[in-house]
């Protein structure tokens, strides 16, 4: 439970800073500060690890209510449907191929074994 408290505290801290005029989204500020706190040892990994991984692992669940909400805005989506779908498809393809292609060129020499293969992110 301590983990959740720390994580929500960082989210609020980020939202507060955004409110005070820092021009980045509150959740991004929270994420940056939280990662820095972990790196500096202000927050210990074992305090937050379980809560954080619970949230990250089940992110799909968190999107379900928003998906159901799409039904309430079909009119708006239809009006701009073609442009938005074209933008979505083209951009998705572009990001996949640039990122994948560049990563293929720049990262392929790295040892995969560099990553700990123990299932430390999944239980």
């Amino acid at each position: 439970m301590l983990g959740f408290v720390i994580i929500v505290a960082f989210e609020l801290l980020g939202a507060g800073l955004h409110r005070l005029g820092v021009p980045l989204p509150g959740s991004v500020l929270g994420l940056i500060l939280f990662t820095l706190a972990l790196m500096l040892g202000l927050v210990r990994l074992e305090w937050v690890e379980r809560s954080a991984l619970l949230l990250v692992r089940h992110m799909t669940l968190l999107f379900i209510p928003l998906m159901a909400g799409l039904t309430t805005m079909t009119a708006e989506l239809r009006k701009n449907g073609v442009a938005l779908l074209a933008s979505l498809g083209a951009s998705l393809l572009a990001v996949l191929l640039t990122t994948g292609g560049l990563a293929h060129l720049l990262l392929r020499d790295d040892e995969i074994a560099e990553i700990n293969r123990e299932a430390d992110l999944l239980p």
Partner: protein, 239 residues
């Protein structure tokens, strides 16, 4: 009896339970038939139930909204995989950030460019820009660019879903197979929805993907911030 049912229908707890049940069901379906994406099946079942039971979305959202709120803390929680992978991938980190930065920039340019070419209004173009990053970040970026956060949320969800379903196949076709490359590409393009899919099949790809999606979120917000500062410097505000 009817009054009891009506009373229960007004309880947020019922909708929290309903959402969890639909999610559990969708994970089961996914385990049985791997090609059915859990977000897709869960949404279809949920929309069908709300429709059949005549539950307005606003009532459902008194309970369901709890999960939407949790997207904020979940974004902050990405710090944990970022920190853990950052330690393990120290040597790769600068190159990985370069790759994700390029992906984020290309994503914003193509999303805005194509929407604009198709005749979308300025507001719609701005709403399309942050579509590759996770919802809480995308919504705030959209708001800062004077886009429509609801349209952005729709774009984010569809991008994530489509990317999660067909992204790995497209990468395979392009012969991009290295775990790091697949993770980076899915994380940068399909944020949390794609990342969650990867985690179900490959630990390594999922870890890189969560790192890439967090980076993409940061880079996209920074690029949007620069765009805003540029407009402000021009003194014209939004065109």
């Amino acid at each position: 009896m009817i009054r009891l049912i009506l009373h229960l229908f007004a309880r947020p707890a019922l909708y929290i339970l309903l959402t969890l049940a639909v999610y559990a069901l969708s994970l089961r379906l996914h385990r049985r038939w791997a090609w059915i994406h859990p977000l897709l099946s869960a949404s279809v079942v949920l929309i069908f139930l709300l429709w059949e039971l005549h539950i307005p979305y606003a009532s459902y959202n008194t309970g369901g909204g709890v999960f939407t709120y949790l997207l904020g803390p979940a974004t902050v929680a990405l710090g944990v995989p970022m920190y853990k992978q950052g330690i393990k991938l120290k040597a790769t980190l600068p190159r990985l950030s370069l790759v994700v930065f390029a992906g984020s920039a290309v994503g914003m340019i193509t999303a805005g460019g194509v929407a604009s070419l198709c005749g979308a209004s300025h507001r719609m173009v701005m709403s399309a820009l942050p579509k590759s990053v996770t919802t809480p970040i995308a919504i705030e970026v959209s708001r800062s660019l004077h886009g429509d956060p609801a349209i952005t949320a729709a774009m984010v969800l569809l991008t994530g879903l489509v990317g999660a379903v067909i992204g790995p196949g497209i990468l395979r076709l392009a012969r991009i197979l290295h775990d790091h490359a697949v993770g980076a590409a899915i994380g940068a393009s399909s944020h949390a929805i794609g990342t969650a899919s990867l985690f179900r099949s490959s630990e390594t790809q999922g870890s890189i993907s969560s790192l890439a999606m967090a980076m993409a979120g940061i880079f996209t917000s920074v690029l949007a911030m620069l765009l805003n500062l540029y407009w402000r410097a021009q003194g014209s505000g939004h065109p």
